[in-house]
Amino acid sequence: DQQVKQNSPSLSVQEGRISILNCDYTNSMFDYFLWYKKYPAEGPTFLISISSIKDKNEDGRFTVFLNKSAKHLSLHIVPSQPGDSAVYFCAVLYNFNKFYFGSGTKLNVKP
């Protein structure tokens, strides 16, 4: 019973185009959402987050969208760069210290 689902295990995008990574969650009580990026042989690193009181948060090339009614979260990367190639994990934070992670989407940005 996964609380957070990333249904696309991989995504391939041309450099300069938009990358869209998707995430679905099950519990409407979740109130804080995060995206992490992970390179091989390293731990996940925090990328961007959004609180449930917002529906969009932007940080440079990265924008996270939250659709609470659909329990859906997405990460947009524009423009995509080869250095963005990594595994992206969606996560939710519940009750301040309980994190649930998705299974990750491997993004490949082709030069």
Partner: protein
């Protein structure tokens, strides 16, 4: 000066052995975590400590015992290792009681022969 460091990076051992993984954070955070990344790549929380006190203990075999000597350290001891324990174990820290992201170590790849 790595923020969250865990040792060793790789651990290869035989079934039945007892092993420990150490984790230290220098971020001044009050909450530390252990995660297991299984073969399906899910990151599943195992334990969480806040100010040296256990606050999350997910369904994990008794063979796994976390120990937090102080706020900056959370070690994981595993007794009687089994084949199914093979995984990557990640330590993380955050400032609890706030909506703050976690900082992760680089993981310990445990392989059981």
């Amino acid at each position: 000066d790595t923020a969250v460091s865990q040792t060793p990076k790789y651990l290869v051992t035989q079934m039945g052995n007892d092993k420990s993984i150490k984790c230290e954070q220098n971020l001044g955070h009050d909450t530390m975590y252990w995660y297991k990344q299984d073969s399906k790549k899910f990151l599943k929380i195992m334990f969480s400590y806040n100010n040296k006190e256990l606050i999350i203990n997910e369904t994990v075999p008794n063979r796994f015992s976390p120990k937090s000597p102080d706020k900056a350290h959370l070690n994981l001891h595993i007794n009687s290792l089994e084949l199914g324990d093979s995984a990557v174990y990640f330590c993380a820290s955050s400032q609890g009681a706030q909506n703050q992201p976690q900082h992760f170590g680089d993981g310990t790849r445990l392989s059981i022969l």
